[in-house]
């Protein structure tokens, strides 16, 4: 009798256990709460490539044996762009050596990027005395495929170098020299050998290929077929460094990683129907934020079907703006002035804290620790909308912040 009792209770326990199985496992965060994930409409083949790239981005951690360094800033893409989101002061990097559009005069001294860490036995790089420098906090990596799919013509349509419309906002592209491996697409236009840059804080990278190759070699000391020299320090650019034969990543992996960046989904806005959020969006339009943080774009035909003819909401014009002396670090890239910064996309802004260790580090170097601060630091072309913000009622300010946090 007793025996049966035990057998029955064991059986009941097991059935309960199995039934509870799914319930007792952690739930997936909602799609609009995370940045990682592919764009909709990829083919199975494209999904496999996406996953390959995802692994290269998040799981491939370099060691001195697999090529890290000898001078580096971090050991994986994912360590700086956690969950594809923004970075932290710990992963913030430094660039130096260029003070005007004539170019970087410290190229023989390890410019443009400082490798502030080194594998054991090597001493990291120091900024040469007197060199201008700026700190860059990692941006989020989402939705970049949509931005890359835009044509130069679309971007230039918003440029207003002479401020012809007299709104105090000009907006200029950064014209940059293309690396040797760059293959122009039909949507690229050239100006005496230079191209329009669109990625990075100063819009100094033309496409994601350019950005990725630089990230490998400058951020991690990982050489590829496209950049065979280890980062130079103290004037010595040399293939010598770690014992790993170059190239340290195969081109196929670089290409899969680029494919991953191109097909990462765009952040999904939350609380779109909330009345405060809607009112906040109206405030955003009214006080001129949208003149630079351009809300809506539509792609034309792209080589990845899932990116063709898509309307998306990045809140950027991909152009450079003079942001005033407060944000002028004295360092620049390409034809940008030292006070000019590319308008950063605002999509995903509300999720920034989830990758920045629970707090905000906004603007190019993470100096703003709240959205309010970021707005209040807008000078130059951004001054008038900053002033308009400051004279808003508290309710309107709250609504605006609520809208920005919903992005």
């Amino acid at each position: 009798m007793k025996k049966l009792y035990i057998v029955y209770s064991l059986l009941v326990l097991m059935i309960l256990g199995i039934a509870a199985c799914k319930k007792l496992l952690p739930k997936a965060p909602k799609d609009d709460e995370i940045l990682d994930g592919p764009v909709e409409g990829l083919t199975a083949e494209e999904k496999i490539r996406f996953l390959e790239g995802d692994r290269a981005f998040n799981n491939e951690i370099f060691t001195s044996e697999t090529g890290l360094g000898p001078y580096f800033v971090a050991n994986s893409c994912g360590s700086c762009h956690a969950g594809d989101g923004k970075g932290h002061p710990f992963t913030t990097l430094t660039r130096f050596g260029q003070a005007d559009s004539t170019g970087n005069t410290y190229m023989n001294f390890g410019a443009p990027q400082l490798q502030n860490r080194a594998i054991p036995g090597f001493s990291p790089e120091q900024i040469p005395a007197g060199a201008a420098f700026s700190k860059f906090t990692p941006p989020a990596n989402t939705g970049l495929g949509f931005l890359e799919a835009l044509t130069d013509v679309q971007i230039l349509a918003n440029a207003d170098p002479t401020d012809a419309n007299n709104d105090g906002i000009s907006g200029v592209p950064n014209y940059v020299n293309a690396p040797a491996y760059f293959i122009p697409k039909s949507h690229h236009i050239t100006w005496s050998g230079k191209f329009v840059g669109r990625f990075g804080k100063k819009a100094a990278a033309i496409d994601l290929w350019n950005q990725t190759v630089n990230a490998y070699v400058q951020d991690m000391g990982i050489t590829s077929e496209y950049a065979m020299l280890e980062p130079a320090i103290n004037g010595v650019a040399s293939p010598y460094g770690d014992p790993t034969p170059d190239p340290e990543v195969p081109s196929s992996r670089v290409q899969n990683l680029i494919f991953y960046l191109r097909t990462l989904k765009a952040p999904v806005q939350r609380d779109q129907n909330n009345s405060d959020v809607q009112a906040g969006k109206q405030v955003f339009m009214n006080i001129g934020c949208e003149k630079c943080h351009k809300a809506e774009w539509t792609t034309q035909k792209a080589d990845i079907n899932a990116l063709s003819y898509k309307t998306f909401y990045p809140y950027t014009d991909l152009l450079l703006h003079d942001m005033g002396s407060g944000l002028n670090d004295g360092y620049t890239e390409g034809t940008a002035k030292t006070s000019e910064w590319r308008t950063p996309p605002l999509w995903g802004l509300g999720l920034s804290k989830n990758s920045q260790g629970g707090q905000y580090f906004l603007l190019h170097d993470g100096r703003a620790t709240s959205i309010q601060q970021a707005i209040e630091m807008h000078g130059g072309e951004g001054q008038s909308s900053n002033s308009a913000y400051q004279s808003l009622s508290q309710t309107e300010k709250d609504q605006l912040i609520k809208f920005l946090e919903s992005l």
């Binding site: 025996k3 007792l24 496992l25 739930k27 997936a28 956690a82 932290h88």
Partner: protein, 407 residues
């Protein structure tokens, strides 16, 4: 080599097992007297002896199934045999003993000699031991047999800070002194130790188990400086046991071919362990805490922590002890483990903020022991892992069901 070992073991086991039914085979049960301590774990196991055959054979098997999910993504149900271990022991001569423990991990993918040593007793207070030794740091490392625990997974601190099973070639001394209700014991060994991999690995954190990947560590030391491990423990028959241990040495290759390439960098681990049986209600409590200090180069990445700590606390409550299905003295236990590891105790230089990189886990479970040698266990595990920057924890949870038995 691997094949030869397997073949030998098969022949040997055949010799013993093929005569299973005859009274020729005798089972030497594990000594469960209250004076046994963690350091006695290697010998305190059930062995089979066959007539005059000079070698006693034993071992254990662990098999389980698990169903885990992380943030809504599950790999589904899977089955594992994490390890099959064989022990061979023999008394070569009075007071000269040999014991070896050979482990087949994950279905034979890896074969490891976890222990293979000769012990010579000169006096109870002075024994010599040489061979492959399990370093006596904490208690779990020496006392890790599956059937002894109510939990399917090993404690995280005991596998990833103390890289159990951590054994090395070396020699040393141990001894024991008993009086009335007290026993005092000590152990001290010099062995080969850690290598550079602990701060150069694809875990992107100070990761002591990385040294186990070095296939040469049984042949030669990575740097010629011995790792010293020392432990002392007290046991009171009625109160319980407490142990304090230290393991320290130099981990890096500071000299190559006679040239000094770095300074000597130390690693030191300190551990405290205890176990007790509460009188009357018979609750069994055991726990261990370990601190590790590692001299990581200043100019390397702070992702590799210079201070680590962690531990676990297990509470096991027998709720039934009687004859079940004809097994005398079968017991049913409720068990609960809490555990914590912090792979990086410290603050970011850039912000002064705390470096996270920690795991918290709880594991409630039920175990049934038809006899002391065999345990059938059901665990539920919930585990929060926070990254370096302190972003929202990723949550993993799941069920494990399995058995572990000596044979």
């Amino acid at each position: 080599m691997k094949k030869a070992i397997i073949l030998c073991l098969i022949i040997l086991s055949h010799q013993v097992f093929s005569q299973k039914d005859s009274s020729f085979i005798k089972r030497t049960p594990a000594d469960t007297s209250k004076m046994k301590m963690n350091m006695d774990a290697v010998y305190n196991r059930p062995f089979l002896t066959a007539g005059k055959f000079p070698v006693a054979l034993g071992g254990y098997l662990e098999a389980n199934s698990s169903y885990f999910g992380t943030d809504g993504v599950t790999e589904g149900l899977s089955f594992q045999i994490p390890r099959l271990t064989l022990f061979l022991s023999s008394t070569i001569k009075k007071r000269i003993k040999f014991l070896s423990e050979i482990e087949f991990e994950e279905g034979g993918k890896e074969i490891a000699i976890e222990f293979a040593s000769m012990d010579i007793e000169l006096h109870p207070l002075l024994n010599l031991r040489g061979g492959v030794i399990m370093n006596p740091i904490g208690a779990f490392n020496q006392n890790h047999d599956g059937p002894k625990w109510e939990f399917i997974s090993r404690p995280i601190s005991a596998t990833s800070i103390i890289p159990s099973t951590w054994s090395n070639v070396g020699f040393g001394i141990f001894g024991k002194y008993a009086r009335n209700n007290f026993v005092w014991a000590y152990e001290a060994y010099m062995t080969n130790g850690f290598d550079d991999k602990i701060i150069s690995n694809s875990e992107s954190r100070t990761w002591l188990p990385a040294s186990k990947e070095n296939p040469e560590r049984f042949e030669e030391s990575s740097n010629g400086v011995p790792l010293i491990t020392a432990k002392t423990a007290f046991r009171h028959r009625k109160i319980g046991e407490i142990g304090v241990s230290w393991m320290g040495g130099v981990y890096n290759k500071f000299e190559d071919d006679g040239l000094v390439i770095d300074k000597q960098r130390r690693i030191d681990l300190y551990a405290i362990d205890f176990n007790t049986n509460l009188p009357r209600i018979n609750t069994y409590i055991t726990g261990e805490w370990v601190w590790a200090n590692v001299d990581v180069p200043e100019t390397y990445s702070q992702a590799f922590g210079s201070k680590l700590q962690g531990g676990f606390l297990d509470i096991v409550q027998p709720i039934l002890k009687r004859k079940v299905f004809g097994w005398e003295n079968a017991t049913l236990n409720l068990a609960f483990r809490t555990e914590y590891v912090d792979y990086n105790v410290g603050n970011f230089r850039e912000t002064g903020g705390n470096i996270s990189d920690h795991i918290v886990a709880i594991v409630p479970g039920i175990s049934f022991r038809p006899s002391q040698q065999t345990v059938i266990r059901f665990n539920y595990r919930y585990h929060w892992q926070t990254d370096l920057l302190g972003n929202p924890a990723s949550r993993t949870a799941g069920f494990q069901f399995g058995f572990s038995t000596y044979f």
